[in-house]
Symmetry: C2
């Protein structure tokens, strides 16, 4: 499995794959790989004849006071995992290869990028959209794979791809959890043992919401209160947001109803900020709800 | 020659051209075609096996108080001219095809976009960069052709193409003038007969600057004063800017010297705002100047 360090080499590899009529897949990552990432690779392997991954801790999506410097870096292990999963090549550029001196072009998805994650992390989605567009231009994947754990990120990227008429198809894959329910995240390593136990409250809160919704509760304020009350039982947790939003607009909803809805959580444990979500989709003429936790 | 109205049809045509290994060229226009545009088509025809043009008056690059509604539209004549020049197909979408409801993604080239044209026309280059990126994604040209008359626009697009790792090669073509020296522009039709005569002062001013520079004047402030003084003789002219800038950064220069430099003019005649420029390039070890008017 090749480790590709430069844009020009990666472009050459992408051109070669296209010339050989490969259906190419891309799994973009910031490294520190866990089973969530590997589930994306496995999905890509079923749909693509050649799968590329990228490992790039993207400075443009970190705020000045965020964890860029201490973001976990486990490059050798990551490469071994990707190779074991049958990845064809890994694009792992240095920051200056992606952002050379004088770099000044940014992609912004307005509206969607300003809410929730975008409010807590100004500029975050601008950094994400810019680097993903660049990866698409460099790697020209037919399909690109993203995890639903970062639900708003996926939605921002879908809007970008539609608005800019990109040819790459975005594939959204299920959230992957630890056996006890904690959503997998590279940032989970930041948690102390006590915080790690406390963090299970996210899964419990979303599970309680799911149960209430399935039992017939349709009021978003009451369901939201259920999230907040459940999390309040965990003294180490500090809620950033806990809300129900339309899965397309990410605007708050008042009532669970005809449209797909996300219950979204962003909760601090010490300095570590964890995300989790529940996707609620109406199915069938009876308006039954299908919940993906 | 086909007139292509939809993105999906245009993408299909682009895919077809790629499958047949055509070297495709794109001449993006807002219609109201003149010899400047046609010179781009002719250049494209020498370098490409298949030339597409686009005709799209891009709302995103017009400010609220600008001339979007009255921008000259001469579609039938434009199509006849392009067909006569051997253009393969014209992409001429309606605005809602390019900016469907909910559209919210924009490309910004920071720094470069804020000066000169960008200062007088806030948001202009954001609109230009966004639509050109979209045209590139939809039409996938190998080469795309732009006129040097809009020097800053070309520079913004070059920066975008480099920063976003685009595969399209930007070709910058010479400025084309009327026999009496007026730079061709679709907006020249706005000029009254008197303004049309007065507008020749732009050519005279840049010519005077060239003569002074070739004669040895290297001081940018003195050369700039020469522009201003020359234009001051024309009572109908009102200067927006008249300046010498580095051709890469579009920052003001103090001295003509080792780097390519633009003398840039933006001058109002009534409500009509005209652009013109002179490119000054040092050549050879002696530092002689080569001027393109």
């Amino acid at each position: 499995m090749e480790i590709i360090r430069t844009v020009s080499w990666m472009k050459e590899a992408a051109r070669g794959s296209r010339a050989e009529n490969h259906v190419t897949g891309l799994v973009p990552t910031m490294g520190a790989l866990h089973e969530g990432h590997l589930s994306l690779v496995r999905r890509a392997r079923t749909e693509c004849s050649r799968v590329f991954a990228s490992i790039f801790v993207n400075p443009a999506q970190f705020g000045a006071n965020e964890d860029l410097a201490k973001y976990p870096r486990t490059f050798e292990e990551d490469v071994a995992k990707l190779e074991a999963e049958g990845v064809y090549a890994v694009f792992a550029p240095e920051p200056k290869e992606i952002y050379p001196p004088g770099f000044s072009t940014y992609v912004t998805v307005e509206g969607l990028s300003d809410r929730l994650e975008g409010k807590t992390r100004p500029g975050h989605f601008r950094g994400v959209a810019t680097v993903v567009l660049k990866l698409f231009e460099i790697m020209q994947p037919v399909h690109a794979y993203f995890g639903r754990k970062d639900a708003q990120q996926v939605r921002v990227l879908q809007q970008m791809a539609a608005d800019l008429n990109l040819d790459t198809n975005l594939v959204v894959c299920p959230l992957v959890r630890e056996p006890d329910g904690l959503a997998l995240s590279s940032r989970n390593v930041y948690l102390s043992a006590e915080e790690r136990r406390g963090a299970l409250v996210l899964y419990r809160a979303l599970g309680a919401l799911r149960d209430a919704a399935v039992a017939g509760e349709r009021s978003a304020p009451r369901l939201q209160q259920l999230l907040v009350d459940t999390i309040a039982h965990e003294p180490l947790a500090r809620v950033d947001y806990a809300t129900l939003v339309d899965a397309e607009t990410f605007e708050p909803v008042a009532v669970l109803g005809g449209r797909p809805t996300y219950a979204l959580l962003a909760v601090y444990f010490g300095k570590t900020r964890l995300l989790d979500n529940l996707l609620i989709e109406p199915v069938g003429p009876s308006g039954e709800l299908f919940c993906s936790l």
